[in-house]
């Protein structure tokens, strides 16, 4: 446009700015299609629901044995967990329940130890109730 016609430069400038705005919106649209993909992959990869479920069940087992922490029935249940977890999920699962009285508790409480590993994610937990 040099020396051709120097009029209407504002219009040209505005047109340029608007086209930039369109570029920006197009990039947003581009990214929105696969939004959440990385998150979804992470969620599918990490066995969050398995670990939560396992934790819930161990608490349930430990509390089903009210007043008798060494109930032999929990031995069969441990084998259930180990067998089914290995065969159906390819994961190592193990736990034990006991009673304990850590220094900061005034009475005996349930103590559970969890171990879960599917080869990618390993989870260990010691919890008191």
């Amino acid at each position: 446009m040099a020396r051709l016609n120097d009029d209407a430069q504002w219009i040209v400038l505005m047109g340029f700015l608007i086209s930039l705005a369109f570029f920006f919106l197009a990039i947003l649209l581009n990214q929105s299609v696969v939004v959440g993909q990385t998150t979804a992959e992470g969620v599918l990869e990490f066995p969050k629901n398995d670990i939560r479920d396992f934790h819930t069940e161990v608490v349930r087992v430990s509390q089903a044995n009210v007043g008798n922490f060494s109930d032999p029935r929990s031995q069969g249940i441990l084998a259930d967990f180990q067998n089914l977890s290995m065969n159906r999920k390819g994961a190592v699962a193990s736990f034990n329940t006991s009673s304990a009285q850590p220094g900061f508790f005034t009475a005996k409480v349930y103590k559970i130890n969890l171990h879960y590993s599917n080869g990618v994610s390993v989870y260990n937990e010691t919890a008191y109730y």
Binding site: L44, E57, A64, I77, L84
Partner: protein, 197 residues
């Protein structure tokens, strides 16, 4: 160019225009994203989370877990799967039927008042004295076909199979009429395949 030093502005403008056109083409081509089958992680994740949540809701007792007498609906459904020798009283055989109703009402509920179209097939995996891992079909809406893209969700269920009450001719949790679960407290694994169909 030395003795005829005119027209630089045209050259610069030409280069700028070329750059702008290249950038435009690059961005326009980049805005197209194909949603390929490889990107189905997103809907898989949502379906899997939905299924896990449904099973978690069904496995939550009405009151605190600390009360050992409280069992969840899911525990009752799995336990009440006695195959009847004669017509059974009460709900001893209605586990799969009640599971079906509750699962579908939770999974298919939409906020707009209409129902979704999720299908499922639930299987129970167990361990007994002779089988490290056995299974039996528990409940399903229909058979899965090759085109269905299913996700798998699981839930551990603690059941009391010591059978201290109830009719004595209900052997055990026996879909086929033979006792397959040991008579003890045990953990079984409920696996549910969920797909949209």
């Amino acid at each position: 160019m030395v003795d005829h030093a005119a027209g630089q502005l045209y050259t610069i403008e030409g280069i700028a225009a070329a750059l702008i056109m290249l950038v435009t083409a690059w961005i326009v081509l980049g805005t197209t994203t194909m949603y390929t089958p490889g990107d189905t992680h997103i809907s898989d994740m949502q379906l899997e989370q939905l299924g896990s949540d449904v099973l978690a809701m069904m496995d939550t007792p009405n009151t605190s877990l600390e009360n050992r007498a409280q069992t969840s609906d899911l525990q009752k459904f799995i336990k009440n799967n006695y195959s009847a020798v004669s017509s059974p009283p009460g709900d001893y055989h209605k586990g799969p039927e009640l599971f079906n109703t509750m699962f579908l009402s939770y999974a298919n509920g939409l906020t707009n008042g209409r129902a979704d179209h999720l299908q499922y097939a639930a299987t129970v995996y167990y361990r007994n004295a002779t089988t490290p891992t056995g299974s039996y079909e528990f409940s399903r809406t229909r058979n899965i076909t090759p085109g269905d893209h299913a996700v798998r969700v699981t839930r551990w269920v603690l059941i009391d199979n010591t059978i201290t009450s109830g009719p004595t001719d209900y052997k055990s949790l026996t879909p086929a009429g033979t006792a397959i679960l040991d008579r003890r407290w045990q953990e079984v694994l409920v696996e549910v395949l969920i797909w949209r169909g």
